[in-house]
Amino acid sequence: AQSVTQPDIHITVSEGASLELRCNYSYGATPYLFWYVQSPGQGLQLLLKYFSGDTLVQGIKGFEAEFKRSQSSFNLRKPSVHWSDAAEYFCAVAARTGGYNKLIFGAGTRLAVHP
């Protein structure tokens, strides 16, 4: 069965430090992979996505993610975190079901940023 694992429930970093959020997926075929961010009281905003091609994808707000098929991973990175990046981050894989894609989400990683 398809699944997404985000091993870190909470992460705290200092402002200006680098960030890496981990995501591992289980999916038999070539995955469509996504990272979404959810600020408190808000819906989900798409940060970036991977469908095919270059395995390093750039997203909004200075985020990037790298697809590594051999490790079944799609980790999210940012070189220098800003206080406004404090939020919850969700990794998702699109599972093909009955002719359409359904998103399978990880449990999320809550990011706190210290000044």
Partner: protein
């Protein structure tokens, strides 16, 4: 352009009451999804609509949950005889295809007392 909108943003109800949640998708998006997000958890798929095709209801947790969508327009999610375990944020997403990307609304926070 306008994004996905949902109403109400917050709903507090008493156990046993029925509630109706509304989702307005992005114009032109033919597919629409409902998800549930319990406190501190990821999103659970509830139901999927694609045009006039039969919806995929496989994620609905019980027969108290139902949803409707007419064509490619507004969708409503109805929960009958609400229970405290129904308390969650209910998120709607519409699909841009291609490139097969879901765009989410702000959600409806449901609290069942």
């Amino acid at each position: 352009g306008a994004g996905v909108s949902q109403s109400p943003s917050n709903k507090v109800t008493e156990k046993g009451k029925d509630v109706e949640l509304r989702c307005d998708p992005i114009s032109g998006h033919t597919a629409l999804y409902w998800y549930r997000q319990r406190l501190g958890q990821g999103l659970e798929f509830l139901i999927y609509f694609q045009g006039n095709s039969a919806p995929d209801k496989s994620g609905l947790p019980s027969d108290r949950f139902s949803a409707e969508r007419t064509g490619e327009s507004v969708s409503t999610l109805t929960i009958q005889r609400t229970q405290q375990e129904d308390s969650a944020v209910y998120l709607c997403a519409s699909l841009e295809a291609p490139p097969d990307t879901q765009y989410f609304g702000p959600g409806t926070r449901l609290t069942v007392l």
